[in-house]
Symmetry: C2
Subunit: 332 residues, 2 copies
């Protein structure tokens, strides 16, 4: 691994973010990344965070049009309420703060405690839980579904609404609507290696893959012999669309994220995207916008995930709105 | 690997690019990616290309402010003169075309042949060879130094000049100046696996690294026991700065690319960037702009490279100019 020590991997990365992105206010000690002008616009603050190892999520999404702040925990470990409380106080401009929380037990408890403490300080706080992963109902780290790729859609669209000056209730309602409209399914072609352990977190033999894997290498639905990119796309698309169909009749176009887990070459990921797009088209689903890349990762895991989000005109408009962060940037 | 077949990996990826980027004109059959408005502005055309497996280089850099077209070869194999000739003809708006060629024997010969054929067709063509890698003088695939991360600086800055309407001679002179001002050094922490071979292209045991590696896994300067991120940064920075010093006295600030080889997590890469920035600072070198990410990759190789480019005000201005491509995007 390209590290100094397992103990410094997160603080080293934050020092690197500070050096590379002078437009961000990186508090290395507290492990909080803030946009410099978070309070300037009198906007609703948007705070997220989670265990490290999923970069660019979340710190790479801090900036105009997306998050106001991100709290970084240790690798695959929730940040603590103190960080969230500090972030909320630092970004609150009197319009309240929305916590975007991936549905993992540690994150849920810590963000809840932070929300209670912030409210005692007189802040208005709303929370949205992201639980878009259809693969499993419960998991090693979760009561209920896991939050994965849908987080990117929630943070982008809620961030655009906040940037426009929408009030807290509306930003929160939009975030929940995006989560309710999003479904994800992931596949691992290799395990990931955490700095602390130094060896793969689970055993996935060459020539096998894990369908429905999470973003910490936690088990998925089933293990199979290696499949082609086309077969994987068909399984993933079927899983997300079948689940989405249960929530209501198909309606309109979708936002699509074809996400790499970290170690999958972009050459392969674009080839996979071709198959995902074809599988969606075969089922009559129109892709309004597509994003292909490594956005919600699992350290050095090889693999991919598919996230779709049903998008009406309002969500499309907010998706297209300008964003300027380390990892997502357009329109400004 | 996330593929259908080794035989279709490049065409599958190009189909995926076409699906994800409607703003690009992707010729899947010819394996050429063009910007849609390449001829509209009456600008100099900028054409590059090379073996696949280094994505987002080069197709991810096609668009306003950067390349007019990119030709994709098979994995780690030069594209052929027919592709380059087609690209040149498709982007030429009467102002001539610049070929940006990484210094590998196959690319050099094929771009040279294409230039001769294009000139027979009445096009004006200039070529610039990129040979920024200080690690080795000759290599398995090279007479002279290899072209690696410096290619990104050449394509961005020459592309900005072309976008502004600079004539061919000036765009070519700028491209050569950027190459002459750039130095790179790469390190492999693991080998890469090509689709055709299906197993690592060279043997790099756990706990060892290869200093001065190329972007095809070709051998570097030496193999060593694993080093810390800080130690690797010091070796890489010393290598590029010592070589740069031979070319003249240090002058002004630098552009810095801290590049991942494909499978290095962004968490680790940002930590490495902190050490590179510190090592440059310790030697009195000011970093004017920094870019951190996976830009010039080697499939699923774990590792990193450091590229610095001495930049005067003109190069800085062109670096900052708007760019809108799949992989680099700012200012528009």
């Amino acid at each position: 691994m390209l590290i100094n020590s397992p103990d410094t991997v997160v603080s080293d990365a934050l020092r690197g973010m500070a050096a590379a992105h002078p437009e961000l206010d990186v508090d290395v000690e507290r492990q909080v990344v803030l946009r410099r002008d978070a309070r300037a616009g009198g906007r609703v603050g948007l705070v997220s965070g989670g265990g490290s190892g999923h970069e660019p999520l979340h710190a790479g999404f801090v900036g105009p049009g997306m998050l106001s702040a991100a709290c970084a925990g240790a690798v695959f470990t929730s940040p603590v309420p103190d960080q969230m409380l500090h972030a909320a106080g630092a970004v609150d401009a009197g319009q309240g703060v929305l916590f975007v929380v991936k549905n993992y037990t540690g994150d849920v408890l810590n963000f809840q405690m932070a929300a209670e403490l912030a409210e005692e300080d007189g802040l208005r706080v709303e929370r949205v839980l992201v639980d878009d992963d259809v693969a499993v109902t419960d998991s090693l780290y979760t009561a209920g579904r896991r939050g994965t790729g849908g987080t990117l859609f929630v943070e982008k669209i809620a961030g655009a609404a906040a940037e426009e000056g929408a009030p807290l209730e509306r930003v929160a309602a939009l975030a929940r609507r995006v989560n309710d409209s999003s479904r994800s399914f992931g596949v691992a072609l290799s395990a990931c290696t955490t700095p602390a352990k130094g060896s793969p977190t689970f055993d996935l033999p060459d020539g096998e893959l894990e369908l429905g894997v999470g973003i910490h290498g936690e088990p998925g639905r089933e293990r199979r012999a290696m499949m082609s990119s086309r077969e994987i796309a068909e399984v993933a698309v079927a899983a997300v669309l079948d689940d989405l169909a249960e929530a209501g009749p198909p309606a309109g176009p979708v936002l699509l994220l074809v996400n790499g887990m970290g170690a999958t070459p972009l050459l392969e990921l674009y080839g996979f995207h071709a198959e995902v797009a074809a599988a969606l088209s075969a089922r009559g689903v129109e892709v309004a916008r597509a994003l292909v890349g490594n956005y919600v990762t699992s350290l050095d895991m090889a693999g991919c995930s598919v996230t779709v989000c049903r998008a009406d005109e309002e969500l499309l408009r907010l998706w297209d709105a300008p964003v300027r962060t380390a990892a997502l940037r357009w329109g400004c």
